[in-house]
Amino acid sequence: MLSNLGELFRYRGLIQTLVARELKARYRGSVLGFFWSFVNPLLLLLVYSFVFTVVLPRGELVSLEPYAVFLFCGLLPWTWFSSSLSDGANVLIINGNLIKKVMFPAEILPIVAVLSNMVHFLFGLPILIIFLLYYAVPLRLTELAWFPFVVAVQFTLTLGLAMVLSALTVHFRDIKDLLANILTLWFFATPIIYPMSFLSDRGKAIMDLNPFAHLAISYQEILFYDGPFGHWKWLLALAAAGLVLFLFGYALFDRLRDSFAEEV
């Protein structure tokens, strides 16, 4: 398995090419083209801001001024996470002809799914930065230094999950339907549209079991809330868990690899 992991490095050219292909193909034929990478998160942000400040205004949210920035801090990473998982679950099936007809390292496909969604995430960051500057949200360098680490933890965690999902979906197509609903639930069960402080102590204890909650809180603490980054212990624990999950996911994928060509 370790040697297989090493192979991944050898395939970096292929991964790079496929990610580029994915990005190119996604907006090919649309008028705005690549701008959709910016427009999409913006529109999403608009929708949620509209819902929670106009349709269902809640007094408690006033404390979260500006709410759009708070929302954006959680929404942007969530979009990366959820689209990676839903793409990842499908990726082996969609590329079935590669797996069945060509000698092709299948593990590249979930990696490409996670990476191309990560690129969209990175494209969304400039918009977030504009928001931060516009609202003059105070930022600290010591906090910002954590940002790449949070991204890295999210990447590892997402990739591990995507590996597991892609491998299992080949055997059980039910997963992709199930997943869509689980992701919706997961979204609302994560402090993205509401802050952690809304929850009771019991709610907080349960929330601690939600890995994405720690990511969302980390992003919010670094970018939105004032004061030092206090969530780092949780983040480190999550990093360790993410690494274990990735290794487990890869091992599972590796074990099931031979079945893909036959079951896809």
């Binding site: 050219g13 002809n97 590669l98 007809k101 092709f104 074990r255 060509a261």
Partner: protein, 499 residues
Amino acid sequence: MTPAIDIDHVTKIYRRHGHSRRFATLKSTLLTGSLVAQLRPDESFRALSDVSVQVPRGVSYGVIGRNGSGKSTLLKLVAGITKPTHGSVRVNGRVSALIELGAGFHPEISGRENVFINGIMLGLSRRDIERRFDEIVEFAEMEEFIDAPVKTYSSGMYMRLGFAVAVHVDPDILLVDEVLAVGDEGFSLKCLDKFAEFKRRGKTILLVSHGLSMVERFCDEALWLEAGDRRATGDPKRVVQMYLADVEQLEDELLAAADAKAQASAQADGSGQVVESLNDPKGPEPAAEQDVASPASEPDNPLDEAASAPEPAEQAPPPPEGEHAEVDEETGLVNMFTANEGRWGSGVVRIEEVTLEGDQGAGHVFHTGDRMTIRMKVRAAQPVEDFAFGISIFSTDGVCCFGTNTNIEEMESASLSGAGEVEFAIEQLDLVEGTYKLDVAAHKRDGFSYDYHRLLYTFRVKSRTKDVGIYRPRHVWRFTDNLRFKPVSAAAADDSSSD
């Protein structure tokens, strides 16, 4: 020297598809690393069983066999797409597989970008591709459209581009699966040239093909797979001959089975007349044998592409049941142009068995120019003096190729009683390739049927030459000296059969 491809006692078992026990494969894979270890025998399917083949470096190796014989599985194992269930496959050298052309093409992006992506997938570096790019595009004849998205390509263009990329990977071992029919005539030739070039440069080629002539001409060695078993290996000409002989035998069995079915149903229809009157059989008595021999056929009808199974209902009206009314005054034959397959007649004289015999004994498959004997076992329920025997041969599109009877040929019947045998010997079956059906009949000289078997017997004529029509007269071409053809050997190479 290590062989380029070493297939060592390889068995490949697939899971039969079905919704039951989807967990079984998953569990089995997870626990034992084997896809099928926990499957019951009825849930699995053996695509290859204990096949060992070594392909030496630089050899062109052909694999032939029927559909489902395991050819493509073998290729996939060598390509590394699937793993053997038992045994091992060792491949020494860079492999490029022409299994599905353009498998990785993304429809939305341009041909140019796809060439790069496909090349990288096949193991080239970006620089390699840049260097070969023009060559690839030129080979694919795609200069005009290379910047258009692949989704706008015709299937021929798609395949051509895929082929061009795959062969420009510069593999040590090329795996080819049935893709020679790429593009138009001109491009096919170019592909063949490319294969020849590979061969010249000492590359190893593993070719799976139904084109037997291609295997005969192009390969140095051949393997014949049959239901996952290795049936024969060695010289391609010999292996192809063995395979063809086997195909003919199977064809023969199929024709025999179809005939038996037609005869059984005719028996059921016509039982009213035929069987009843034969219920009091007389003892065996001296046979009245009659020999008729005069091979002749009528030309002028386009060759029918031998339909694999004899199709019933070629002619419009259903057969008149029982006593036959439509009797041609002149020939005394039943009007065979309007009747369907079936059997009728009074049963006074009965044709009990009809066999077709060639030089190798009874069968249903013959070659143009072969000897063919139609043998009928007949039995008269009571002694008769007025009788005639006839045969006619029809092509599948209903054209009567030849028909005659003893009456037409002016043989006067004298006596027949008890069992006898009639033999109609055709010295040379000068028919072109195709499937033919046979009428045999015993009747009175005025055409009144004793026992008429309508289109109940089928035989197939095979030929190495693909000439058209029905009748193939023996012939010779002659030319004056200023009109020349290339020596016969080159033409003979093209003269090999293919399916």
